[in-house]
């Protein structure tokens, strides 16, 4: 039966900003869905507040709304667009929750919108703990013994029955938010308390512990004819107790017999039928007792999930794409298998390779956080690798993580005696690099049984790690690097660098190993992901390397461009860079064979539809070089693009160029010139541009001298970083001493004793009260195209990635923009940019300081592209391939005249707001880590508010990022002395708008003298009053405060501020930590009070059409996310 003819338009809801547990895998799935629906001739209406997504590019939908995903806004869009159907299963939990809210509010019924791909009853059955338990039982499965509770006291009573440790899982939260293990009553009270808060239905499930059991997942699909297939099985190397998003996982499952596997499959199929997932995908998690094989069904997600993205990339079976087709009426047997093109999708992929996924964490950004891995997901990204065996795939996956300490090593002597006992105790606790600890323990002689006892990692995996150790020992001990020794090393995933270290070959060793390897003919071949283990010919060149016999890279005639992606998502390098890579691939396909190299399974770039060829490979020098050699053997290669994927590919540029690879666009020398403080300083001097005074230092004494010369406060950071890692504002010599000492403590032993830092420290004058400006521009060698000028809402000192910004700039004059243009052009010319350039400026008392310049795609490229309607990344890729800006203007890729610096006065205003993950990170005692913003970037994602003026755009950005600004209630104000003058006006306005003002003593007196009444509340440090009067922290925790204004004092005791901010974040209330944020918030509140948001699609914005007035929701507002 072909697709339904009674549907002609579909509303697709995206997943909003990137947060932990819900990342760009939903851009991948949503983009696929939009493509499919458009191909089917349907009108696609898309809503997603995240501008960094490919799916929100105007060409992927007929009407693209970059608007907050709230019931109110969705209602306005539905009223305006009148879609026939709503597809909510491809936008993660956010979209699913939004659909439920629309249904509950009666909006779907009122406008006759049919839910497709899911039904409310199925969603409830899948996500409601008790209903799901009943389902499992009906399907002949077992659930862990459990109880549902709605209060902390009920939970404590349940302990008698279930015993400790006990699992706590809140209902209806995503990424395992709020769940954890309670080992005693105190922990139980705390975790249940939080869990009840996070659960939108104030409900948590308590469960018997199955810690240490083997954990599996199945990805299933069902069509309307009740055909069900299992797309992929996934095995977690880390056993039950670690969230699957934080586990090392393997596909396919490797330690189950057919009988056990079929048992999981039978239960899975019965469950998807019983739950009633109409059409589409679902994910089911199982635990298997390693001693008896007893199977327990843990949970299911009745939608496309992170695991389904992984499964799609792991198998070549595009779950989201097929889910979209099933939703509009096709059956699995009617859909061809993309890869073979001759067989149908109604089969189960079979793999002749092993896939390993390794999570990437960002604990270094949250030093106070407890790094123990639990059932709450904490990783910010992941890398996937494929190999013809587990060891090869694991080695590749670990080096794909692109972070120190992530790969196996054999440095120094193995630990022994008490140290080994200690290590065995440490690896019992799951943490970021536990797998390395496991390898070290085995290396040190611990038996597989001992390590199994400690970690409960299946002995088969442990034996494989032991095998790597044995191969490594053979490499170290071999009299010479022979063909057999090298081949064995490569077959088990060792990199040239690891081999060189094992042989004690020194810094040039990697190159020597490669020379020997080439001379002996030990080279990788490239196999194909084909869904069918070679049973049928593959038409899609989706490759991975392996040290095997036969390569499958096809010869080609067209000239190729190789694009290096950005690797695993991390804070500071995420979807925004993938966005630029995808655009380059899409636009260059017209003229070149585009070849993508990347190792991030969540992205659109690793969709085999994006480029002509896909290499799922680590982004290391060795792996990239081999891909280049393989492609060079297949046909002509024009060059490699390294400047779109962020720091990871950029860091390879010089070595690749030295190895003779043609780098397209800005040369590695120019990239270096911009990174090197000395060289860049000369460029600025020649161009006559001021920069804040700066210096570099390699020791504490040097640092003190430099800082004294510049004058405090200073901004201190290590050189060559992205996302402001290790960056701090330092106000005094003592603080500087502390910083240098911490840096030294992390350095190698020899540096530590010498007191010298391994890399120079950059010390800049910190510009207090400056306005920060971000510019994205394009330069072809003669002409500059100013993509956009962004004015930060927070003042300088807060990392640009965490700062909200507005475009076009709302407080810069034409002359100032002109000055920015001239300065940017001078830098582009001086550095030698061919392609994109991002410059950060600070404007202080009419002086425009250059803070830094990055000759590469920046995080803001997608935001600028969406806000101005110009695809900067596409244009940049073409400039890198040799086209001029003039030619691109003529070709319509860029506007015929003008640019992002000359936007008309009536152009819409876009506000970008960052989304921060503080809630995920808890200290060891369970409180939220500090939430104050600083020069180190910590946001995971962003949203865009788009409207006719700044207040509305800002208010939308807040609604999209945090659920919105309050329009009534209580505001607590406590600010540093230096800010007391500036808050008077905005706080007065809040009082006029009807807010009750709470303040601490000092702030309150300033307000009183300015005629603003406020209620004095007790400081946290003062403790509760004699009669139990609450402190401000108590009030916030009790939910009695609707917004908090707290600017931290520069130095000294910060405990009060910390407690206030942590409590506010935990209570999910908006907080302003700068005066500028406060001012913006007041404007935003006024906009919200003026009535429902008006909405407009990007297509309407681009056509210069106005916004459509919003519709007041019939039922009370409920936030989708």
């Amino acid at each position: 039966m072909p697709r339904r003819t009674d549907i002609s338009s579909v509303l697709v809801i995206g997943s909003g900003p990137i947060v932990i547990g819900q990342a760009c895998e939903f851009d991948y799935s949503g983009t696929q869905a939009c493509r499919v629906l458009k191909e089917e001739g349907l009108r696609v209406v898309l809503v997603n507040s995240n501008p960094a997504t490919i799916m929100t590019d105007p060409e992927f939908a007929d009407a693209t709304y970059v608007e907050p995903i709230t019931t109110e806004v969705l209602t306005s869009i539905i009223a305006k667009e009148r879609p026939d159907a709503l597809l909510p299963t491809l936008g993660g939990q956010t979209a699913l929750n939004a659909a439920i809210a629309l249904d509950e509010a009666g909006v779907l019924a009122e406008y006759g919108v049919e839910l497709i791909g899911a039904n409310i009853a199925a969603i409830q059955k899948g996500e409601d703990r008790q209903q799901f338990k009943d389902v499992v039982e009906k399907c002949g499965g077992e659930s862990a013994r459990s109880l549902i509770v709605h209060t902390v006291e009920e939970a404590v009573a349940a302990a008698g029955d279930l015993g400790y440790p006990m699992v706590v899982r809140p209902s209806f939260t995503m990424g395992g938010l709020g769940s954890g293990f309670a080992y005693d009553e105190e922990e139980l009270r705390r975790i249940v308390g939080q869990g009840l808060h996070y659960s939108p239905v104030t409900e948590v499930l308590l469960e018997e512990s199955i810690l240490g059991w083997k954990e599996y997942e199945l990805e299933l699909m069902r069509d309307k004819n009740d055909n069900v297939v299992v797309v992929c099985s996934i095995e977690n190397v880390d056993p039950v107790g670690v969230h699957t998003g934080d586990s090392i996982t393997v596909a396919p499952a490797l330690t189950l017999t057919d009988r056990e596997y079929q048992k999981l499959r039978d239960i899975g199929i019965a469950v998807i039928r019983e739950v009633g997932v109409d059409t589409g995908g679902c994910n089911i998690q199982f635990a298997v007792d390693p001693d008896t094989g007893r199977v327990i069904v843990i949970e299911m997600n009745p939608r496309v999930s992170r695991s389904s993205a992984l499964a799609s990339k792991a198998t070549g079976f595009p779950i989201a794409k097929i889910a979209a087709k099933l939703a509009v009426g096709y059956t699995l047997d009617e859909i061809p298998n993309d890869i073979t093109q001759v067989t149908p999708a109604s089969f189960e992929p079979t793999l002749d390779y092993v896939v390993v996924k390794v999570p990437r964490f960002a604990f270094e950004k949250f030093p106070a956080a407890d790094p123990t891995l639990t059932t709450t997901m904490k990783s910010v990204g992941e890398a996937m690798a494929l190999g013809r065996n587990f060891t090869e795939a694991l080695g590749k996956a670990l080096r794909s993580i692109d972070k120190g300490g992530a790969v196996f090593h054999w440095d120094g002597e193995p630990v022994s005696g008490a140290e080994l006992d200690d290590l065995l105790v440490r690896i019992a606790r799951p943490t970021e690099n536990r797998i390395i600890g496991v390898q070290q323990a085995l290396r040190a002689g611990a038996s597989v049984e001992q390590v199994f006892e400690a970690t409960k990692i299946d002995p088969w995996y442990l034996d494989q790690i032991q095998l790597v150790n044995e191969v490594a020992a053979a490499v170290a001990d071999a009299p010479a690097l022979t063909h057999d020794v090298l081949r064995e090393a490569k077959k088990h995933g060792l990199s040239d660098a690891q081999v060189a270290r094992l042989r004690g070959m020194g810094p040039a060793g990697e190159a020597t190993v490669r020379e020997v390897r080439y001379a002996l003919g030990v080279r990788p071949v490239y196999k194909t992901v084909d869904t069918c283990a070679a049973e049928f010919a593959a038409r899609t060149p989706y490759h991975y390397s392996s040290y095997d016999l036969e390569t499958e890279v096809a010869p080609r005639e067209r000239e190729a461009v190789i694009i290096l992606g950005s690797g695993p998502n991390r804070i500071g390098q995420g979807i925004e860079f993938d966005y630029s890579c995808v655009h380059a691939a899409l636009t260059l396909r017209e003229r070149y064979e585009t070849i993508m190299v990347n190792c991030n399974p969540e992205t659109v770039s690793t969709d085999y539809d994006t480029s002509d060829r896909l290499y799922f490979e680590p982004l290391t020098f060795e792996d990239v070089l081999e891909v280049y050699q393989a492609e060079l053997a297949a046909g002509p290669v024009k060059g490699i693009i390294v400047q779109l994927g962020g720091q990871t590919p950029l860091a390879l540029a010089q070595r690749l160029a030295d190895a003779g690879l043609p780098i397209l666009g800005t040369s590695p020398e120019a990239i270096d010139a911009a990174e090197d403080r000395g060289e860049f300083g000369r460029v600025l001097v020649e161009a006559g541009l001021p920069a804040p005074a700066f210096g570099t230092a390699r020791s504490l004494d040097e640092a003190k001298d430099v800082a004294a010369g510049i004058g405090y406060p200073v901004l201190v950071r290590p050189s060559y970083v992205l996302g402001g890692r290790g960056m701090e504002i330092v106000y005094s010599a003592e603080q500087l001493t502390g910083y240098v000492e911490r840096a030294l403590a992390a350095a190698a032993a020899e540096d530590r004793t010498a007191g010298t830092l391994p890399a120079p420290l950059l010390i800049d004058r910190f510009l207090d009260d400056a306005m920060e400006i971000d510019v994205d521009a394009l330069y072809d060698g003669t002409e500059l195209f100013l993509g956009g000028v962004m004015e930060h809402i927070e003042e300088a000192g807060i990392h640009s990635g965490d700062s909200a910004c507005v475009l076009p700039p709302v407080s810069l004059s034409e002359q100032e923009i002109e000055r920015i243009r001239r300065s940017t052009e001078a830098i582009a010319k001086g550095v030698g940019v061919r392609g994109l350039l991002n410059v950060q400026y600070a404007l202080v008392s009419d002086v425009l300081y250059v803070l830094e310049a990055n000759p590469r795609a920046s995080r803001t490229v997608p935001f600028v592209s969406k806000a101005t309607g110009t695809s900067l990344a596409k244009a940049a890729a073409r400039v890198m391939a040799g086209e001029s800006i003039a030619a691109l203007r003529a070709a319509g890729v860029l506007p015929a005249e003008g640019d992002g610096g000359t936007l008309p006065l009536d152009a819409p205003i876009a506000v970008k707001e960052a989304v921060l993950p503080f809630k995920r990170f808890r200290t060891a005692d369970g409180t939220v880590v500090d939430t104050v913003l600083g020069p180190e970037m910590r946001s995971t994602g962003e949203v865009m508010g788009f409207d006719r003026d700044f207040p509305h755009a800002f208010a939308k950005s807040q609604a999209a990022a945090f659920g919105g600004l309050p329009t009534s209630g209580r505001v607590f104000v406590s600010v540093a002395d230096r800010d007391k003058r500036s808050i008077v006006f905005p706080v007065k306005r809040l009082a006029e708008l009807g807010f009750e003002i709470l303040a601490t003593d000092g702030t309150s007196s300033v307000l009183r003298r300015n005629g603003i009444a406020s209620r004095v509340v007790r400081k946290f440090s003062a403790g509760r009053g004699a009669d139990g009067e609450p402190t401000i922290v108590d009030l916030i925790t009790a939910g009695e405060v609707d917004m908090v204004i707290n600017t931290p004092s520069g130095q000294g005791a910060r405990a009060d501020g910390y407690e206030i901010r942590a409590a506010t974040t935990a209570a999910d209330k908006p907080i302003a930590t700068t005066v500028d944020q406060l001012a913006a918030a007041v404007q935003g509140i006024e906009a919200v009070l003026a009535g429902p948001f008006a909405v407009a699609s990007l297509q309407e914005h681009m056509a210069g059409e106005g916004l459509t007035a919003g519709v007041a929701p019939a039922a009370p507002e409920r936030v989708g996310a």
Partner: protein
Amino acid sequence: MTASANAVTTPATGTDRALIVLEDGTVQTGRAYGARGTTVGEVVFNTGMTGYQETLTDPSYHRQIVVMTAPHIGNTGVNDEDPESGKIWVAGYVVRDAARRASSWRARRTLDEELAAQGVVGISDVDTRALTRHLRELGVMRAGIFSGDALVRDGYPRTVEDLVAEVKAAPAMAGADLAREVSTDEAYVVEPFEGSTPDGEPVATVVAVDLGIKSMTPQRLAQRGVRVHVVPASTTIEQIEAYAPDGVFFSNGPGDPGAATHEVELLRGVLDRGTPFFGICFGNQILGRALGYGTYKLAYGHRGINQPVMDRRTGKVEVTAHNHGFAVDAPLDGESVAPHDGGRYGRVVVSHVGLNDQVVEGLECLDLPAFSVQYHPEAAAGPHDAAYLFDRFVELMASRRSEGSEAADQNIKES
């Protein structure tokens, strides 16, 4: 129980060389796996990711060297519950990465040990994907695995020409009549499972002709309350009649259905008597031939547990286990009259079709109580989607019996 109790660790096996040699001269070097020596047979590939133990013990693989496309084989070792027959039948075994250690609470020994103990010559560390692609493009062919002393002749390493000549001397699969080589010597009974019958009496009695039967097949019937008499391939129609069966079953098995003359005649005897019939795999091919259709050899066969098959009666797709190198040549669409003997078996439809390549995967007689499938509803290894076929067989026998008793009543009245 601790890991040490679960785990069975292989002693170090050394790194002795082995060669796999195809009749077209293709050679790959690997490591000896299992027993050392020589083996020759038809080389085929199997794409199942689980179930190596069931595959190895499936008699249909008799005289075949099996290449596993899944790279890691042996991870869960060998247990006592999963074999599909009393021994390993494959002629040789080709894997990429052989497990050094078995990990499963059911494992009793490692696969390497089991292969060696049963004298099965294998090879590991070869590019199994390259071999598979080769077979896909050129079709299955004869091959040999050589290791240990088999690589040496008169004190010198043997040449590739020498090894290819030995491979070519092996008999080809086309024309091979192998069922008798794998069939049971003595008849035996599989009784209904406890609790599977309403009154303790079998719901039906089936004679299952063992052409290479897998142990799961009679179990699937026994689960449904059926008493199964498993009989040798050489059984005669009179011997079958002596059991007074409610139904007759023909199993899977190795070899060329074109050479199975006895079995075809035996089945015609069953059809002539109107006894309900169900056939699997080889049994499907025998039904095809008995009805007068041809059979032919597929280029590289279907061997795996992920094959989509459509049941044309319901329009639903089932994911099924396959192991066949031959297929029935019958008209795919609509009813046709069985060509044998001027259409004496009446009309036939192709009831099941393989969706990957439109191969006949099932036959159903419209005028006789007989049907069969080319694939493996007993599913060991493999998914259980097609288990309903055993129910269909039981229902067919039940309905025949009630018709039979009605007819008997009729006869009494008439007499």
